[in-house]
Amino acid sequence: MPIKIEQLVVGYEFPPNGYKLEPSVIAKYLEAVSRTSGQDSPVPEFVPPMAIAAYTMLVMSRALSLPPGSIHASQELEFFKLVPVGTTINCRGRVAQKLNRGKLNLLVIELDALNHEQEKVLSGQATIVVPS
């Protein structure tokens, strides 16, 4: 059951979860970001780092019930290793900050993605503005 924002506290750690970056998943991602203007293109050997970020955030968002209208305000990301297509990434997230500003909540979530050897391939921090 996804946790609601009002239940979140600083330090809360989302249940870790995995996501397999299969060729079909990456192909769908590439089509969406119009890498080749709608034309078919071969799936690359390595996963685009922003795809890793997107799927890490997907895993986290499934554990968190964000209300409609939540807005992504800022993003920090760092990429550490090439990730071959087909890798399963293990995603971890935690609440770094939770601030209330009147009708809005500011939520800062830290994210990590690790490969099967438990090596960090990505880390990041997302700031999300959430309507009360």
């Binding site: 769908k28 969406a32 955030m57 992504h72």
Partner: protein, 142 residues
Amino acid sequence: MNKELKLSDLHQGDSLSSVVKHVTQENINLYAEASGDFNPIHIDESFAAQTPLGGTIAHGMLILAYVSEMMTEAFGNSWQAGGKLSVRFKAPARPEDIITVTGKIDSIEQKEDTPYVNCDLETRNQHGEIIVTGKATVKLCS
């Protein structure tokens, strides 16, 4: 395809090859499907029309995919395995916007015999409004 830049190609003040994208509602919908982010602010025009934004907007991560495309074209695996970015979303990108992503080399520094390229990033729409602003750093592979 652009040639990946080598250290000898890089100078402070150089501009990276820009990326231009036409954001459509179709792209936004495809990104929602691909990313699993079905926030109605992105895909539900009726819902979005009733918010202060007045209409649907593109996912911030979709716009960052364009930023990453520019950095990958410039730096290849160095970006994918050693890149870092920090950005703020200043304004939404909307359907039918033409987004231009630009980057400029701010500085090049050596840390423990490894060169790092620091870049300023900007994304603007066709009206010149800033959509994304921020910085990126690339640890150049040898």
